[in-house]
C-alpha cells in the first residue's frame, strides 16, 4: 500500500508543484499589483507572441503575433522575456531600456514603470533571423490626456 501511495504522490504531486511554481510562486516574487507580461520571441515568422511556446506547441502551432499590449498609467511592469529558438535581444528605445539578451530557452525578466501615457515601441535589437524585422510591438499606456506623454 505504501508503494501505491508513493506512486500516486509522484504522479499527482509533481504537476501540482510545477503548476504552483508557475502560477503562484513566480508571480508573487514581485510586489502586489505588478503587471506581468510574458513575451516570447520566435524567429520563424519574426513574431513576438504572448502564446505559451512549449515543446508541445512549437512544431505545429503558428504563434499569434502580438497586438498592442495595453498598460495603465502608473503600472509597474515586469516583462518576462523568452526565446523559443535563437538568441534574441529586447529593447524599448524610448525608455532607454535594454538591449537585454534573451538566450534561446532562457527566461529573462525586465522591469519598468509606465510613468506616462503613450506608446512604447519594443523590438528585437539583434539580427536574429531573416525575419528579424517583424520582431517589434507596442505597449500602449492609457492615461489622462492632459498628462505629458512619452
Amino acid at each position: 500500500m505504501a508503494g501505491v501511495v508513493a506512486v500516486v504522490l509522484v504522479l499527482v504531486g509533481l504537476p501540482l508543484v510545477l503548476w504552483h511554481w508557475r502560477h503562484v510562486t513566480s508571480v508573487h516574487r514581485y510586489p502586489p499589483g505588478t503587471k506581468i507580461v510574458t513575451l516570447t520571441a520566435v524567429a520563424k515568422g519574426g513574431v513576438w507572441t504572448r502564446d505559451d511556446i512549449v515543446g508541445l506547441t512549437y512544431w505545429w502551432r503558428k504563434p499569434t503575433r502580438i497586438g498592442d499590449v495595453p498598460l495603465n498609467h502608473g503600472d509597474h511592469v515586469v516583462v518576462r522575456l523568452r526565446s523559443a529558438d535563437v538568441l534574441h535581444s529586447f529593447a524599448i528605445p524610448l525608455l532607454r531600456l535594454g538591449p537585454v539578451d534573451i538566450p534561446a530557452g532562457h527566461t529573462v525578466d525586465v522591469e519598468f514603470d509606465a510613468k506616462r501615457p503613450g506608446t512604447l515601441t519594443f523590438l528585437c535589437w539583434q539580427v536574429c533571423s531573416p525575419e528579424h524585422p517583424g520582431l517589434h510591438g507596442r505597449f500602449v499606456v492609457k492615461g489622462n490626456e492632459q498628462e505629458e506623454t512619452w
Partner: protein
Amino acid sequence: MVTANPIAEATVPTEALERPWRFNLFARWPWLKRLVRMRSFQFLVILPNLFMFYLFIISALFGTPVGNRNIIIVFVWILWWFMLIAVLVPFGSRIWCTICPLPFFGDWIQRRAVIRVRTGKSPGTENSFFGLHKRWPKRLSNIWLQNFGFLFLATFSALLVTRPIVSAAVFGILFLVATVLAPVFRLRTFCNYVCPISGFLSLYAMTATVELRSVDKDECLKCKSKACIRGSDKGWACPWNVYMGKLDRNNYCGLCFECVKSCPNDNISLFVRPFATSDVVVRGYDEVWKACIMLVLALTYSVMLLGPWGRFKDWANVSEARNWAGFGLFAAGQALLALVIFPGLYYVSIRLAKWYARADSVPTKELFLKYAYMLVPMGLLAWIAFSVPLLMVNGAYIISVASDPLGWGMNLFGTADFPWTPLWPHWVPFLQVPILLTGLYYGLRGLHKVGRRIFTDPAQLHRSLVPPAALLVGVTLVFLKLFIG
C-alpha cells in the same frame, strides 16, 4: 628429463581456457545482499527514476522547445547516455534495467502488486500473474526486433537528441508498449524482445565487470524447486525467464535480483570479474548483427554529430533542412552500412580466416558467430570514445538545466545562468585515442581467447586470427581518422 611431445607442446593447455577470477560481493558485503533481498528494493530504486522520467515527459510537453535548456534532452542525451555507456554498462552490467522506469506499470498490472509477491499457479511459475500470460512468438524470440528498432531510432537521432517533443514521443511510446504488452504476454516480454535500449545493453553487458550467478552450479542442478526461474513466496518468477543453473552470460539477466530473494539455497551472488573476459560467446546471428549495427552507428554518429561535415548534419537534420532526398540518402546509407556492408566485410574476413588457416573442418557459421565477439568490446569502447566529447563539451548544460529544468525561469540551485563552458575540449582527442586503443586491445584479446576454444594448433589459430584482426585494426584506424584527423 622427459622428452616433450611437439604436438602436445603446440597445443594450448585447456586449463588456460578456464573462467577467469571472480570475487563474491555478497560474501564480502553482507549488507548488500540484505539490501537486494528486501522486497521493496527494486521499487525503491525505480521510484526516483520514475519521478525523473515523469518530469522529463512534462518538461518535453510543457517546457521550452529549446533542446539545450530542456531537462529531457540534457539529462537523457548527455548525462544519462554517458553514464549508461561509460559507467553503468561496463561496471554494472544491466544495472540500468534494475532501475528502468519503462516497465514499471506493466509489472504493476501483471503482478497486481508494487512490492509484495503473490503465490499461485500461473503457467510455468509458482506465482499468480494477471493477464493472458501468453508466450511471445518463437520467431520473434531473439533481438532482431531490437536491432531494427534501434537502427530506426538512430536514423532519426538528429531529431531525437535535439527536440524534446521527439524524445518524449519515443519514450512515451516505449512506455505504452511495455504497459500494453505486460497483461498479454508473460513476464518481461517487452524488455526481452522489444525494447531497443535493452538490445544493446544485452550485448555490451557481456563485457561488464559484474555478474549475477549461482555460487555453486551443482547446487542449482540438485535444486528441485527452481525457484529462481519459477518464483516462490519470497520472489517473483524471473521476469527475464533465466534459469540460474544455466546462466553463463550477462546478456539476458536484467539484475532485478528476484532470484536472490527466491533462491531457497542462498546460492546466488553478485560477483566482480575482469573487464571483457568472461562472457565471450556470441550466440546467434541476431547478436552478430547487433554488434555490427552498434559499431556502425558509433561511426555514423561520430561523423554526423562530431565531424566537420555540415552536409551530413543537414541530411540527418531533416526537420530543419527539409532536404528529404538527403535524408533518404543518409537513412539508406546508414542502414546499408549497418545491415549489409559491414556484416559483409566481416563475413569476408571470416572466409579469409578459414582459407588462410586451412580450417575446412570448422564450419563457417561457427567461426562467424564466435569471432564476432571481437566487435563487442571494440563497439563499447568506440561508443565511449564518441560519448566523451558530448559530456566534456556540453556537460555545462547539466548545471544550468538542473536549476531550471523546464526553461521557465526557475533558479532552484542558483545555477540557471551558468554559462556554456566546454571542459578542456582540447583534451578530447587525447582521451578518445587511448579509449579506442583499449577497445582494440580487448577486441583482439577476446578474438584470441575465442580462437583458442576452436583451434588447438597455435599456427592455425594465429592464421585464423589475421583477417578478422585486420578488419578490427581497419575499423580502429577509421575511428582514429575521424577523431584526430
